[in-house]
């Protein structure tokens, strides 16, 4: 199993009690799956995704990633693990405004101590693969929303992670751009990457193989999505 969560909970102190964001979440994700996490606002979707991405360490329970007990790792070990295997796509793109497209793509590699020569080659490949070579010297504020998200996806996959986590990747895009991004995710999944996305959109969810429903922090349902009918829509 690639990802296993057992009794994962997250809460905040609130007066004399606690407010729960996630409650006893149990979840298994296999390698190669394309999973969509859905639910209303405040259900805890993004929180769950950030826990999976190891950005958030204030939770309880058990989290196994590639059989590694994340809940028992120290921050440095978690950082090494997520750097090696996880790529993250943000709803707001979160590109670094003062770096060019090229530099935004390069930066995750420099944090992984990849040599300069290898970085140059990997960035060139990804620019070509995503067909954004002509935009490599532009800054994020010179790109459209769709182009920025494209760069965000490219940045997430440049180090060939096993898992790509995407938090509402098309939330700030119009439908044509959104479709382009989702097709990209599909092709990544076809290439072997495991994709976990948070989405409000049924259309986006239909690109995946499984849907997990969250409500008030609880996992209330899991279902298999109809991929063919979603593609037609």
């Amino acid at each position: 199993m690639l990802i296993s969560l057992r009794n994962v909970e997250k809460s905040y102190p609130h007066g004399v009690g606690r407010t729960y964001v996630l409650r006893r979440v149990n979840l298994d994700i296999k390698e190669g799956e394309f999973v969509s996490i859905m639910g209303p606002s405040g259900a805890g979707k993004s929180t769950l995704l950030h826990i999976l991405g190891m950005h958030d360490s204030a939770w309880s329970g058990e989290y196994y990633f590639m059989d590694q007990p994340v809940h028992r790792l120290n921050p440095k070990q978690r950082s090494e693990l997520h750097k090696k295997h996880i790529g993250f796509v943000f709803q707001s793109y979160h590109l670094l405004d003062n770096l060019t497209v090229y530099e935004n793509l390069e930066i995750p590699l420099s944090y992984r101590n990849v040599s300069r020569k290898d970085r140059q080659s990997m960035v060139a490949d990804i620019l070509d693969r995503f067909q954004i070579v002509g935009k490599k010297d532009l800054y994020p504020n010179q790109l459209s929303g769709g182009q920025q998200q494209l760069v965000g996806v490219a940045r997430a996959v440049i180090a060939n992670p096993q898992v790509v986590l995407a938090d509402e990747p098309t939330g700030n895009l119009h439908s044509a751009q959104g479709k382009e991004i989702m097709e990209l995710f599909r092709s990544l999944n076809d290439s072997g990457a495991t994709i976990v996305q948070v989405t409000h959109s049924e259309v986006n969810a239909s690109y995946g193989t499984r849907i997990i429903q969250l409500r008030d922090g609880w996992v209330v349902d899991e279902e298999t999505s109809n991929q063919t009918s979603a593609a037609t829509v």
Binding site: T47, H94, Y111
Partner: protein, 800 residues
């Protein structure tokens, strides 16, 4: 690392206003610190410019507890027997008149007992220096001249060496030329000629007198002797001399210090205090910049969170942020070095003349290295806290967009930094306040004479043209009479040495009629004066009488003493009518005929010492200073003074004319310099601290807009909102003031040796500074408080 640097440059370029502000604040701090360090380095730290300078020692001889430092020529000859030192040589300053090579010129001269250049290890540019034969009594007069004099008066002709020049009216063979790089004794005006003291007429008399303690003495330690061993051996010699020559040497002992310490030691405390003060200013500047970075860091939380999410470890993020800080500091350091060039020039121009080695202060390699290290340390210093704070941003919450409002930890750090700035400002202000009060106290000290509307001019009579006492007395009388006849001059007089001119002369004396005891031997500041001296100088007669024209070379020996001398040596009896034998130039014993008020001789801050006055006609020295009291503004009389001397003797070059006020001001020049710089630094620090407080409050108001809007919507009035902001300011400054007062009480003790008339924990100064700082805080809080009252509740709440 290179990509971090590139990124840092880009970040700074994208925020030009912020970058410029930080660079200016830091450049001022680094520039000021580098300027003062240049002075400290050039004056205190740099070794003397002589080979093996650490082996050069100053031999200070004096009465126990007062090692003012001068010895007699016979004493120096005895010191030469010491085995732990070699090349013992004495020197004393004076002037000598050069004629025959252009216009008559008064040369600043050093009279020596031996080969000074050999002791210091400096080869001459041309010719040779003194041999043992050159320095004995009766030897043919010779001189070593400076390169500057050789250039100005001898056209840099090699034939100058071996030629004969007329110095003090007698033929003197020039035997060598000292290079311009040779500067000893180290003093404000450079020496132009070195002559053996034994070959001048007056010097030859001194050279034979055991009690004429006029020579400063230096030597070189033997390579295998420590300074302690040299001190012990020379002290033993001093004790033997005291036993063998009780009349002249009783109670005297010898102390040895490194020569560099002797030259610059008295300035060490003042310069170190100034360096600490300017470092305080730099610290406050760093705290201000740290605050700016912390505020800016809040806006960079998103960027830091993204980097963290992309795999950057905390160390990597800290490194990147520190790179920006160090880059800012390096840019500021470059600007600071440029500023320090100007700063050093300004300090040297404004400083008292008596700080030795100051004219040679430069921004040299050592100073540049210091500035470079200081810049790097500054960058790390102000960058480290913000880097650690900002890198701690919660990536998860930031990326989800669930962070907002006030970053409590950052706000607290900023408040602590500002409290620290207030504390440091208080320490600097207290220091400046104490030094300022010292200066005021010194300027209020009664110097004992009236400095207004009076001029003074030194005259040095050459032995050959004024060889006899009669000739000197006659010239002095003619001079005083002629000066007194100048229109606009109320009275004129003469004295062998002028008070506060730096030329004070101490001479021993013995009280007659008492058993010979140590306490009946004394040493007093000595003046040979004309009869109108006390009236012209405005020195009050307390009892008895002053000299008249009848107290001349034919009259009986008389003497006037000061009030301190009377009370010290005749505590329970009337000194009038008693007799004193003066150690030098004595024509028999002298009767005390008058007691005058004390006069400050060498330093305004020192207690009055014993002073004695004899009639010039009875003790005619070959040098004297004329003093004229003007009816009105004395400045126009300067030319008349000079022309009068030239008229009386065309071959006698007139000396520099100065007002008496100049000497009084110069006497407080050092404390004025220290107090002025300390005040400048304290003011700068306070302005920076005020800006720091303003920044924290202004930012706080911006952050609390929503809260202020809610309060106003709930009924808070403008006064309530102002109280909110001012309350925060008072809390910040209150903590800072409390810490600052405690620190100031502890730290101002180091100023004790620089203070006069005020204690290091003076409550009035502390209270005044606290009030001043609270006023600064109030001023800093005014604008943010006003801005807070203008928050529109509806706008503030709608923005939520």
């Amino acid at each position: 690392m290179f990509s971090d640097l590139r990124h840092a440059l880009r970040i700074l370029r994208q925020a030009p206003g912020f970058t410029l502000l930080v660079v200016i604040v830091l450049a001022i701090g680094i520039g000021a610190t580098t300027s003062i360090f240049s002075v400290v380095n050039g004056v205190l730290l740099k070794p003397l410019p002589f080979p093996d300078a650490d082996r050069l020692i100053a031999i200070q001889s004096g009465l126990r507890g007062d090692h003012g430092g001068t010895a007699s020529v016979p004493d120096i000859t005895d010191m030469q027997a010491a085995r732990t030192v070699r090349d013992v040589v004495g020197y004393t300053g004076g002037t000598a008149i050069l004629t025959g090579h252009g216009e008559a010129k008064t040369l600043l001269t050093s009279f020596v007992t031996g080969d000074l250049m050999a002791t210091l290890g400096v080869p001459l540019l041309l010719g040779r220096s003194f041999t043992a034969d050159d320095v004995r009594i009766g030897a043919a007069p010779v001189a070593v001249i400076s390169e500057r004099l050789w250039t100005d008066r001898f056209g840099r002709q090699p034939s100058a060496v071996g030629s004969v020049a007329t110095i003090e009216g007698q033929p003197v063979t020039i035997i060598g030329v000292a290079p311009d790089s040779f500067d000893f004794p180290i003093q404000a005006k450079r020496v132009e000629a070195w002559l053996p003291i034994a070959t001048t007429q007056i010097g030859a008399q001194f050279a034979a007198v055991r009690g004429a303690h006029l020579m400063h003495t230096i030597a070189r330690r033997q390579p295998d002797a420590s300074i302690e061993q040299a001190a012990a051996e020379l002290d033993a010699i001093g004790e033997r001399l005291a036993r063998d020559y009780p009349k002249s040497n009783a109670g005297r002992s010898i102390r040895v210090v490194p020569l560099q310490e002797r030259i610059v030691g008295e300035h060490r405390t003042a310069l170190t205090v100034l360096l600490a003060a300017v470092a305080g200013v730099l610290l406050i500047a760093c705290a201000n910049v740290a605050n700016l970075l912390l505020a800016r860091g809040i806006g960079r939380r998103r960027e830091i969170a993204i980097r963290s999410a992309l795999g950057a470890g905390r160390a990597r993020i800290v490194r990147q942020l520190l790179m920006e800080s160090v880059l800012l500091a390096v840019i500021a350091g470059g600007a600071g070095i440029l500023l320090s060039q100007w700063g050093v020039a300004a300090i040297v121009a404004a400083s008292p003349l008596d700080i030795p080695r100051l004219q040679g202060v430069r921004v040299d390699r050592t100073v540049l290295m210091f500035a470079a290290l200081l810049s790097a340390a500054t960058g790390i210093g102000f960058g480290i806290i913000p880097a650690f704070q900002v890198s701690r941003a919660d990536a998860g919450e930031t990326l989800k967009g669930t962070t907002g409002g006030i970053d409590v930890r950052s706000a607290r750090t900023r408040q602590l930094l500002v409290a620290g700035e207030v504390a440091l400002s208080l320490v600097l202000l207290v220091g400046a306040g104490l030094l300022g009060r010292t200066l005021l106290n010194l300027e209020r000290v009664e110097v004992g004479f009236v400095a207004e509307r009076a001029l003074a001019m030194e005259i040095s009579l050459p032995d050959t043209r004024y060889p006899s006492p009669e000739a000197r007395i006659a010239f002095q009388r003619r001079t005083v009479d002629a000066l007194g006849a100048i229109p606009g001059v109320r009275s004129a007089a003469a004295t062998s040495t002028l008070p506060l001119s730096g030329n004070d002369m101490g001479i021993g004396f013995r009280i007659e009629g008492r058993a010979v005891r140590d306490e009946d031997r004394g040493n007093a500041a000595y003046h040979a004066i004309s009869s109108d001296y006390f009236a012209t100088m405005g020195i009050r007669l307390l009892r008895g009488r002053v000299f008249t024209e009848r107290d001349d070379e034919h009259g009986r020996g008389v003497i006037v003493i000061s009030d301190t001398m009377a009370r010290t040596y005749w505590p329970n009896e009337d000194p009038l009518g008693k007799r004193i034998t003066v150690s030098y130039g004595n024509t028999g014993s002298r009767e005390v005929i008058g007691i005058v008020a004390d006069v400050k001789e060498s330093a305004v801050s020192e207690p009055s010492r014993a002073e004695m006055y004899t009639p010039f006609a009875q003790t005619p020295w070959p040098f004297f200073t004329v003093v004229v009291r003007a009816e009105h503004d004395p400045a126009p009389l300067a030319a008349a003074l000079r022309s009068t001397i030239t008229r009386l003797d065309p071959e006698q070059p007139p000396g520099d004319v100065q007002t008496l006020g100049y000497f009084v001001r110069e006497a407080t020049a050092q404390p004025r310099f220290t107090a002025t710089l300390a005040a400048a630094f304290a003011l700068l620090a306070t302005v920076l601290a005020g800006l720091g407080i303003y920044g924290v409050l202004a930012y706080g108001v911006a952050q609390r807009r929503r809260e202020i809007g809610i309060r106003m919507a709930l009924g808070a009035r403008a006064a309530d909102v102002r109280a909110l902001v001012v309350g925060q300011a008072v809390a910040l400054s209150g903590i800072g003031v409390a810490i600052g007062v405690a620190a100031a009480i502890a730290l101002t003790r180091v100023l004790a040796s620089l203070l006069f008339g005020v204690s290091a924990s003076d409550p009035l100064t502390f209270a005044g500074v606290c009030v001043l700082l609270m006023m600064v805080v109030a001023a800093a809080a005014y604008l943010p408080a006003r801005r807070a009252t203008r928050v529109d509740p509806l706008v503030a709440l709608r923005a939520d």
